[in-house]
């Protein structure tokens, strides 16, 4: 089986507008989706990322005090999953709860060793 990285981008903007109930529902969706993957032994791992970060450019000589991409492009989290093909991994990603918050998901195969 191959491994795929799901890069979850954007979706941080309207968090404050949600009620606690909505937030809880949302977190339950994460649990169901990831739980499903874990049950099928397809989940390797994954974490949300903090908004803050630094970016090194110009051969590392220059450091900016923020991630390179912002807003919709900002990487907000990642998942590492197992799958047979890019198509299958893409299908799996269709249920990502991040979409409820307007995220985008980029699916990339990990280069085989």
């Amino acid at each position: 089986m191959k491994e795929f990285l799901l890069l979850i981008r954007g979706g941080h903007d309207d968090t404050g507008k949600r009620s606690p109930e909505e937030m809880q529902k949302h977190m339950e969706h994460w649990q169901q989706w990831m739980g499903n993957l874990a049950q099928q032994n397809l989940l390797v791992g994954g974490q949300p990322l903090m908004n803050e970060g630094k970016t090194l450019i110009e051969r590392g000589e220059k450091v900016i005090d923020r991630p390179l991409a912002e807003g919709k492009e900002l990487v907000g989290g990642y998942l590492l999953i197992r799958s047979n093909s890019l198509e299958e991994a893409t299908n799996i990603s269709k249920d990502c709860p991040g979409f409820e918050y307007g995220c985008t998901v980029e699916v990339r195969e990990i280069s085989p060793m």
């Binding site: 977190m27 994460w30 990831m34 032994n41 791992g45 994954g46 949300p48």
Partner: protein
């Protein structure tokens, strides 16, 4: 805030809830981390004690304790995500390692029906047939009933050191054999429940029969044994007839517990007990449980012992006891399995029904039985029979033999009084 009030609330809560919290935490951390689970619960208790002293008891102390333990568990999981302390390989536990799912998954572990399952699962784990009964009960008292090592030692009249060794051995067994706390499958539930019930009944008897242990511990043992049995009855899968029967039996016994001792702590025989002191509410619930125990084909010792105890509870006075009915139950008991102690008890029924001569003839049948020879009740019974036959010298020597065999001060005193009253 009144410190004593807080202590009482906490003490009560702790006895009721600590076992459940430990069970959930063991589910999360794994049976290889029982100490960690116990520490977290202990920690929650200490925090409650400190916080409540300043802020007063919260509206829902139980929820407060659970929340504290849960938050601590989240901390521990976060900190040990990459250490080897906790095995996160099982799919549900894997979700504890991601911030996407940690809190929701953790909340899931603490849902009421999961708490109940884990607690029952732990009871079955503690009562694994490979673990000696002594170790089973020691472990249950410590981990599931919130007893301190000192209190367990007191219950067994042994040293804290011995108890610690027993606990260690059981934990090692869990670790080595990767015992998981789960309710057994339907094809095993009857036999596994049998082991759990024996442990509960032994624990109950430790509180009910032993006259040596201090009063508070005895009451605690009785209460905890009944609590454990009731938790089995709270779950469909474990609502077996024999569980209802044991519950009934314990109700009937517990209803009479207070009238067995005089204000001065002397033993009072059934024939002299003040029946108005018996707890009618407990007798009534016992009757309910006994009715529930009657479905299906199962007839266990607990059914028959409960039926006997119920006859005693029902009788308005000792003289009105239906000995004929009781004799039938004893016969049925001996039919299930021969047991010299049951045989001896049956002989006491014969004494009431047919008099001392017949009783003595029947006891002749078990003369020289090794177990009975060492059992003080056997000699006390013989003494009673000889006394009624007016063979006073024999009676006194039997009572003396009984005195030598019991460890209990109260029983020794009781026999001493009997000897003093023998004519001649």
């Amino acid at each position: 805030m009144n410190g004593e009030h807080i202590d009482n609330t906490l003490n009560h809560l702790f006895r009721q809830e600590s076992g459940k919290m430990v069970a959930v935490l063991i589910k999360i951390f794994g049976t290889e981390n029982i100490e960690l689970a116990e520490d977290v619960v202990q920690d929650a208790l200490v925090r409650a004690l400190e916080t409540w002293k300043f802020k007063g008891i919260p509206d829902n102390p139980r929820a407060w304790l659970y929340r504290t333990a849960k938050n601590r568990a989240i901390d521990i999981v976060r900190r040990n995500k990459h250490s080897r302390l906790i095995d996160f390989s099982d799919p549900q536990k894997q979700l504890l390692t991601s911030s996407y799912t940690l809190e929701t998954t953790m909340n899931d572990y603490w849902k009421e029906d999961h708490i109940k399952d884990d607690f029952l699962g732990m009871m079955y784990a503690c009562c694994h047939p490979d673990i000696s009964q002594e170790n089973q009960i020691t472990f249950i008292l410590k981990s599931l009933c919130g007893f301190s090592t000192k209190e367990v030692a007191k219950s067994f009249l042994t040293s804290e050191d011995t108890i610690s060794k027993r606990l260690y051995r059981t934990k090692e067994y869990f670790r080595k054999n990767k015992i998981r706390p789960i309710i057994p499958l339907p094809n095993q539930i009857a036999s596994r429940t049998g082991t759990v019930l024996s442990a509960i009944y032994l624990m109950f008897n430790e509180g009910y029969n032993s006259t040596h242990v201090d009063q508070l511990i005895r009451k605690d043992l009785i209460r905890q044994a009944m609590l454990l049995c009731r938790s089995l009855l709270s779950e469909k899968r474990t609502q077996l007839p024999e569980v209802f029967a044991l519950m009934a039996l314990m109700c009937f016994h517990a209803a009479r517990a207070d009238s067995r001792l005089s204000d001065h702590g002397e033993l009072i025989l059934l024939s002299n007990q003040d029946r108005t002191k018996w707890n009618t509410a407990l007798i009534q619930s016992g009757e309910q449980y006994l009715n529930n125990a009657a479905y299906g084909e199962t007839l266990t010792n607990y059914h028959l012992e409960a039926a006997i105890a119920f006859q005693h509870c029902k009788a308005k006075s000792y003289l009105e006891t239906d000995w004929q009915e009781i004799l039938k139950y004893y016969d049925a008991l001996l039919n299930i399995a021969y047991d010299p102690i049951v045989f001896l008890n049956r002989c006491l029924v014969i004494l009431e029904l047919d008099g001392p001569k017949d009783a003595l003839n029947i006891l002749e049948l078990v003369k020289g039985n090794k177990l009975l020879e060492k059992y003080y009740v056997y000699h006390a019974t013989l003494g009673e029979i000889y006394e009624r036959l007016e063979e006073y010298v024999k009676a006194v020597s039997c009572f003396k033999r009984a005195m030598e065999l019991t460890q209990s001060k109260k029983e020794k005193q009781f026999l001493k009084d009997k000897i003093a009253k023998v004519p001649g």
